[in-house]
């Protein structure tokens, strides 16, 4: 009897030690305010979802951390007992890397960067397929043949998205143009508004954008023009004018990552090659003006009525074309890529050869602009 009690006690104690050690405290370092209704807002929604889901998980966050000051914040979070750290801005980059070297017992994951270490992974949920699908619809809806695009910073991520969008536009409307204006800020509602007004003055009648507020959607709607939402569900800001858009599900990545840490699959020794590049098939991004609304019903009839003669699918409505292409990005196997060769840039240089798809490297370092993009393109290669 005494032996049994002792044995039970030992097992219980052992269990406590094991499971106690597996309790995860994750610290999130955000570059913006959680109330931006864009990038940081989306990361924080995801944090709350995983926090609610797992009782072995506790999360904390620090918002509006200026790039360059993340090091001290990471120190503080680890002092508070965090054993997993997420840093959510490309510009942090070296901060988490140095911290990963300083704290070999802590697991790091850096969003949208490319530097990794034995205890530091990278992750990104990318939109380029969704931008392409939105481009198909934008190309069908423009009457002036000019589509406006308000863009944040001229970096490869945006260039890839604008190119994919333009490829979609031109697939259904070979003469249409995508007019781009750069505002040099991730978040500047006034700049986004004035850039949109400038594009309207130049005759653009459909809008897409990369900026962390619903400004472009609102300005377009004020002028009675359709638009495509970015990052957060913006349907409610213009219920009659938002056609579709791109939505993110960071929780898919956070869940997968944290569960693997919890189960001991990811350790502080094996992350040097862990890089999440999750897109439509993994459910990390979604096509839609709102969750579960891929195309605003208000626009369905117009998209179904518009039929084009497609080189691959023959007579097909825009609505069906979007659905076909969408399914081609689905699990289990992707059967189409927007950048399927041959792709020439707007200076006539062959960038992706016939019969090939771009490599990951090509996608994340893209500097050129495809045909159909009109406007300045800082950093455009000479030839």
């Amino acid at each position: 009897m005494r032996k049994l009690v002792l044995l039970t006690a030992v097992i219980l104690l052992f269990g406590l030690v094991v499971f106690g050690a597996e309790k995860i405290k994750a610290g999130f370092v955000y570059v913006g305010p959680i109330g931006d209704y864009g990038w940081t807002h989306a990361h924080d929604l995801a944090r709350r979802i995983v926090d609610d889901k797992f009782d072995w998980l506790e999360t904390v966050y620090v918002e509006s951390v200026p790039e360059g000051q993340e090091g001290a914040i990471i120190d503080r979070l680890i002092a508070q007992g965090c054993n997993v750290i997420f840093t959510t801005s490309f510009g942090f980059m070296d901060g988490p890397l140095e911290a990963a070297m300083r704290y070999p017992d802590v697991i790091f994951a850096h969003c949208s960067g490319f530097k990794r270490y034995k205890n530091m992974a990278t992750y990104m949920a990318d939109f380029y397929q969704v931008y392409y699908l939105n481009g198909l619809m934008a190309g069908a809806l423009t009457k002036t043949g000019k589509i406006g695009y308000v863009a944040a910073h001229p970096i490869p991520e945006l260039k890839r998205h604008i190119n994919a969008f333009t490829i979609g536009v031109r697939e259904v409307n070979p003469d249409a143009e995508v007019h781009v204006r750069w505002i040099y800020s991730w978040y500047d509602p006034a700049a986004a508004k004035e850039a949109t007004e400038a594009l309207i003055a130049e005759g653009c009648d459909v809008f897409a954008f990369t900026e962390d507020s619903p400004t472009v959607v609102q300005v377009a709607a004020e002028n009675g023009l359709p638009s495509f939402a970015h990052y957060s569900p913006m349907l409610k800001f213009a219920p009659d004018h938002v056609v579709s858009g791109q939505l993110v599900h960071w929780e898919k990545i956070y869940e997968d990552f944290l569960v693997k840490v919890h189960e001991g699959i990811y350790t502080t020794e094996n992350l040097a090659y862990v890089d999440y590049w999750w897109t439509l098939p993994q459910g990390a991004v979604e096509l839609g003006a709102d969750f579960g609304v891929p195309i605003n019903p208000v626009w369905e009839d117009e998209l179904k009525a518009k039929v084009i003669d497609h080189p691959v699918f023959g007579k097909v409505s825009i609505y069906d074309l979007v659905m076909i292409r969408h399914s081609q990005f689905g699990a289990p196997g992707i059967t189409f890529d927007p950048f399927q060769g041959p792709v020439y840039d707007r200076k006539g240089v062959l960038r992706i050869p016939e019969g090939t798809w771009p490599s990951y490297e090509t996608l994340v370092t893209m500097q050129w602009a495809v045909d159909g993009v009109v406007g300045p393109w800082p950093g455009e290669p000479e030839e």
Partner: protein
Amino acid sequence: MGWESWIVDTLRRALAYGTPLLWGTLGEIYAERAGVVNLGVEGMMILGALSAFAVAQSTGNPWIGVLAAAVVGGLAALIHAFFSVTLRANQYVSGLALTIFGLGLSGLLGTSWVGISLKNPLPKATIPGLSRIPILGDALFRDHSYLTYIGLFLAVVLWFVLYKTRWGISIRSVGESPSTADAMGINVFLVRYLCVIFGGVLAGVAGGFLSVEYRPSWTEGMTAGMGWIVIALTIFAAWDPLQAVGGVVLFGGLYHLAYRLQRWFPPEFLKLMPYAFAILVLAVAGLRKVRRGAPAALGLPYVRGQR
């Protein structure tokens, strides 16, 4: 598209984008004319933006929202007045603190208002008669916000008050030489308090304009630096309400053109253009020895009996 449409578009956007800048600048001019620098404009604007949105959304009436923004802006300015006039703290530090406080507090209180579309934004209006003037009618008197027209009217009134009335003389003398004003029997503290609070009221309305008209929604930090442009425009306008209108239209027009011209000019250069131009004008004015001096006692706390 002819040149007329370029002029109309540029002026239209200059006024629309310039409206919050105009309200803010007029307010700051009065505070500084009384000798008190208030670097808290950004903070007062953002608090105004949040209160206007929250109240407009709750009551369904955007005008009550603007009123709430005015009250909150005034209250925020009262804090600055207390520190800088009564406690004679460093005005720059107190103003900066107000900006940081405003941005932080609005972010904290605003979380539940993020991601909501305002039911009932502020309406626009066309002025009958004046809107028929060719080109200028379309640019200045058609489909602008009521706050745009009121702002322009206010500029004229404030200019008149400042230069043509006893009140204006009192305000200016308090800003130029508070001890002389005091000797003349003007209540320096009262004038300074009133001017700073008035500046806050106008800054609050400027913020309210952003969240119930210009972009009817609330997001954290949505003023995005406009308060600092206001500080610069105050100097640019040489502390004169009518010159403020010119400065705002010029700055707003260049801001709009920066996006129109991107097709032909490098965007990095255009983004800088409005700011570079402001510096250029200041430099030229300085070279021509035009008197653009600040109020002599600007930034200095007043202690009775000291000179």
